[in-house]
Amino acid sequence: MKSNTQTLNDNVMTVAQTKKKIAPARILLHIVLTIGALLMVFPFLWTISSSLKDMTQIFAVPPVWIPDPIVWSNYVDSFTAMPFGRAYWNSFYITAIVVVAQLFTGSMAAYAFAKLRFRGSGVLFILFLATMMIPKQVTMIPLYLIMDKINWLDTHLALIVPGALFNAFAVFLLRQFIRGIPKELEEAAVMDGANPFRIYWSVILPLIRPALAAVGIFIFMGTYNNFIDALIYLSTPENFTVPLLLNNFKGLYVTNWAYMMAGATISVIPVIIVYMFAQRHIIEGVTLTGIKG
């Protein structure tokens, strides 16, 4: 927050210096936007603050903003009360496999749709896109029954395999990028006698790295945060992903707000860290989905 107000002050200064007339409307706008930004971040700050309090501080009126003493043991207790460490590992390895596999299978399909057009590929592509209009809830029940039939219920395969093999959105986005690659770049490889796989591997993939990053981060967020699939498929706490475990944790400690907030912080931190590092990619990705398609 400090950096925010800092820049705000800097801005006001530069505006004041460059233009003789300070626009009061502009300053007012900055004030409103800063209050807005505070409101957006406040729930997270309040969560962290609450997670470090003991019971008397939790119940204190007026509220205690900065915990004193800082009660780190809430985190230790949360980690021992529920297998959060295990849930982290589950979420991370599931997400990692889904992201890598989906980028691979998705970009392969995207390459085929963009560059290897053949009779029927247009129809196939439309079929892919049409599935984006099917709400998840429609396929949810048959998928559950399929997973039951092949004994994948309560296993991570039920979360990994669909995520790795099918994502019409990723295919569509990556295709848009690959279409934009000029023919000349491939032709050099074709002259050298490269087959489509070589072209895909050594020409296309390196060129679409920014797109892979954007799509990959999207898949990361979607998979790490996915709740309903984990809820339906998983039943043993050792198998739980972070959101599902947090939901269970909530059921057990609903009145122990310090634990609850420690749990929420534990679940939010990985994704916030990724966001801080990758926010440019994420926002570019959102922009692409909205504008270029």
Binding site: N4, L33, G36, P63, T105, A109, A112, F227, I291, G293
Partner: protein
């Protein structure tokens, strides 16, 4: 160029106009490249979709005999009070979140568009978008807690006795809508921002020369030029809001009573609590058709009121 916006949203109406270059070699390689995703498409989309349709005409508890019951599941849903309660709550949620959420995100985007420090504001406004429904649910249960929640403590400071946000039948949907707007605001804002960046400066320069006021510029340039973006955001928001589930499941279990029981909650309950897979599939198909009709009707309408840059 801008046509991409709606074609990408409504993929079914997408036509590949380019002459396809048919080569046997391409077909073979194409199929090899497509195999993994094609398998995924068949196993995880097409087969389940057909199964859902078939199931919606069947009676099945997941274990015993399956029997064909015609339209009975649909009749069951249309005469079920839970179904209508869920429909009402879902529509209420849509009405509460979409117009207000869109308006705030549009205003924010316009405010941020040409301001210094845009990136930093954007960083904060977008942050909730990346967090999971469960964590935001848990966080807001604490903020909205009737006795100890920080919101009611803040209200008490200015002399207002805060209500029980999540346990009051009349308020619970409003509370869930409120935090959902907070959750998704940044997403819509970023798309609006991108839309604003796409409007050529020359329009504003021309308007400036003609002496148009800021408001006139907003009314006559920004809004019409932004309409494809607005359309996209609105459709996505409506479709998303029809599928609201996680927040209600995590925070209130659909309660108090059935006050935050939504359509997806109804589908989930029918299938995974009551094991009425047929009835549940019928409800899911109804939701699907509603979303489909909505999308197609909007697609027809948008031609009338959406302006595309030539």
């Amino acid at each position: 160029m801008r046509e991409w916006e709606w074609t990408s949203l409504l993929p079914i109406l997408y036509f590949n106009k380019e002459v396809s270059n048919v080569r046997k070699n391409n077909a073979l390689w194409g199929l090899i490249f497509l195999t993994p995703q094609l398998l995924g498409l068949i196993i995880f989309a097409i087969i389940p979709l057909i199964s859902a349709l078939v199931l919606s005409f069947m009676e099945w508890d997941g274990f015993g005999e399956r029997s064909f019951v015609g339209l009975e599941n649909f009749i069951y849903q249309f005469s079920s009070s839970d179904f209508w309660k869920a429909t009402y709550n879902t529509i209420l949620y849509t009405v509460l979140t979409v117009p207000i959420g869109l308006m705030i995100s549009l205003l924010l985007a316009i405010a941020l568009n040409k301001i210094k420090g845009k990136e930093i504001y954007r960083l904060f406004y977008f942050m909730p978008v990346v967090t999971s429904s469960v964590s935001i649910g848990v966080i807001w249960m604490w903020i909205l807690n009737g006795d100890l929640g920080i919101l009611n403590q803040a209200l008490a400071m200015i002399g207002i006795v805060g209500p029980d946000w999540l346990t009051n039948t009349n308020l619970v949907m409003i509370s869930i809508a409120m935090l959902s707007i907070w959750w998704q605001l940044g997403y819509n804002m970023v798309i609006f921002l991108a839309g604003l960046q796409g409007i050529s400066k020359t329009y504003y320069e021309a308007a400036e020369i003609d002496g148009a006021s800021k408001f006139q510029q907003f009314r006559n340039i920004t809004l019409p030029m932004l309409s494809p973006t607005t359309f996209f955001v609105a459709i996505m928001a409506i479709i998303g809001s029809f599928q609201v589930f996680d927040q209600a499941f995590v925070m209130t279990n659909g309660g108090p009573g059935k006050a935050s029981y939504t359509m997806v909650y109804h589908i989930y309950d029918n299938a995974f609590v009551d094991f009425r897979f047929g009835e549940s599939s019928a409800a899911a198909m109804i939701l699907f058709v509603v979303i489909l009709i909505f999308t197609l009707v909007q697609f027809k309408l948008q031609k009338r009121w959406v302006h595309y840059e030539e």
